[in-house]
Symmetry: C2
Subunit: 357 residues, 2 copies
């Protein structure tokens, strides 16, 4: 069974409408959500729709938020998301960053009182049509142990950066600051396969290959895996994302970040409101003429694309290549969803009286 972008976007928008979102917000949330599926990041798309619904049912999502700038300077703002869907709060906060960049060269917005915002890359890419560099990061449910610890104090805390080019497609990096994202472990669990050493540790902090270690008190590992391979650097990146997204905005940080799953309790002693994001926009022509920059980006990209490959590699990839090619294919051909995801969506549809197909 093949799905199209329009089908999944409209279905999701209808579910968000049933949650009580305004038509504009429902469509915006759906577009943000399905931007993950169409780019091949299946873990962050409609597979999570029921998760958002359950958070709403648990009273943790406000479908009619009063999203507002609570503090600002010419180049910065703090946005309070009023517990709205991160899928709506983040793009609206990114609009604030883009406007500030238009006015003074760059715009930087810290967001509090939000929740899961979909894929970071989607928000960063909002800068591209304006010839700006876009940056997006977010903290997330605590699943990652800092180097030397057995406690889960950080989320997978992704960083995305989107940089425009000229004739070449843009450079779009979007990655968790862990060695592997949790979604990859879930796939291995379904296959009953082992994880490579370096992805997770067990409850005592020992290296493990069990993909279900997180259910037994284990933790994801920061990018770098272990100290000898630079895990303190991944820990530093995850910490940076946590601090910029949550300490700077007034959201819940470290192990106080609210979990995405509805069945885990919220922290009893909150240090801030909801989840935090950090969004940035830099006008290219605040540094050099955009055409000049883009011509050099084309040259940069071509140099890497044409680099001599190592054995086992057909080509050297530029960040964003895989997702862009996936988007082209999926737009033309549609795509399959995993049977449990289809069942999940069908259940949601029945519950809310919304047709999936």
């Amino acid at each position: 069974m093949l799905f199209t972008y329009t089908q999944l976007r409209d279905f999701s928008a209808n579910i968000f409408l049933q949650m009580g979102c305004s038509p504009e917000d429902a469509l915006l949330a759906a577009e943000t959500l399905v931007s993950a599926d169409i780019r091949g990041v299946d873990s962050h798309g409609v597979a999570r729709l029921s998760g958002y619904v359950r958070l709403w049912e648990a009273g943790r999502i406000n479908p009619t938020p009063n999203i507002q700038v609570v503090h600002e300077t010419p180049s910065t703002a703090v946005v309070d998301g009023d517990a709205g869907l991160g899928l709506v709060v983040a793009p609206k906060a990114m609009e604030v960053a883009l406007k500030k960049a238009e006015q003074v060269g760059t715009g930087w917005v810290a967001v509090r009182n939000s929740n899961h915002f979909g894929i970071a890359g989607h928000h960063a890419m909002m800068a591209l049509p304006k010839d700006m560099i876009g940056i997006a990061m977010t903290n997330a449910s605590p699943l990652v142990a800092p180097t030397g610890s057995i406690e889960r104090l950080l989320g997978t805390n992704p960083i995305a950066i989107a940089i425009p080019a000229g004739k070449q497609p843009p450079f779009v990096a979007d990655f968790a600051t862990t060695t592997a994202a949790n979604g990859k472990l879930e796939i291995l669990q379904r296959k009953n396969a082992e994880a490579p050493l370096g992805w997770v540790q067990d409850a005592k902090g020992n290296p493990s290959t069990k993909p279900n270690e997180l259910k037994q008190g284990g933790a994801l590992l920061p990018l770098g895996s272990d100290l000898a391979h630079g895990s303190h650097k991944g820990y530093g990146l995850g910490a940076m994302v946590d601090i910029l997204s949550a300490v700077l905005s007034g959201a819940g940080y470290a192990a106080w970040a609210p979990p995405f799953v509805h069945f885990l309790p919220l922290p009893a002693d909150p240090v801030g409101k909801g989840l935090g994001h950090f969004l940035g926009a830099m006008r290219v022509d605040a540094f050099r003429p955009a055409d000049e920059f883009k011509a050099h980006m084309d040259n940069w990209i071509q140099r890497f694309r044409n680099a001599k490959t190592a054995e086992g590699y057909e080509k050297v990839l530029i960040h964003g290549d895989i997702e862009r090619e996936m988007e082209i294919t999926r737009k033309q051909e549609g795509w399959e969803l995993l049977p449990p995801v289809v069942a999940d969506l069908q259940q949601l549809g029945e519950k809310f009286g919304v047709k999936l197909l």
Copy 2:
């Protein structure tokens, strides 16, 4: 033989004076250089002094540069370093970023026509006394192969971020975007020891444990080591640093970045001027009251510092702990330099008529 901060700073300043730097620039360069030694980053301090001298002898460093802002908006600037010492150009460019942050909340400065700027953390830390968050990055001599390639297209491209706290010392992360810095391989070569797998690859792109692979056409590996452990993320970070530092400023990027060593030729077909840096400053109170932020940073730091440790770890470290403790010890007790470094400095001293001790 123990050296003190003042001895090494003054010796270095005298050497820079002999190169023709103004007294102010000579002192600034020396302070930047020796800030690496005192923080225990011996690879980036006086051990490199003769390297700067040789670059000057090769006509690649201008001791009396006209460092100027060539383009700006309220929150951004491009600084042309006029081939001056990066040790001087970077702190002067950081002053521009700090001033812009005072005025509009944040300041972002891309620098071209510079060269090696010492440790990134030094420049980022300039923001701390002003209750600002400081960011510094630079591109560097091409030694790193992107994932899937055998070509050295990126430098070790470090990222530093300094974040003020209240009663706790600041959070200061400063790391290369590779698994291990080149300095670590040099230490292993001296010891005739093997490197862990994941630090370098050989000329064909195969994993290697030989610390001298770089001399035989091999390459350093991006943070993550291999694709299964997220090397595409380290490659993405190194690429980001290269683009922000060099493509945005008009410096030499990718394999066109000028080498630090004088005996390697400059690229025959330059795409920009010199090396590039990217420096940022964000006023904390452009987001929330500084006292409030710093109290939460204290809480953040204490939570991590008190986290349960994994076996084999005495405590969980905060970024900046090791270097700060080293600085305290070295300030009080002085420190030893490796015999070849002492010999190198003595030779420099004789050449320029400057006394080392």
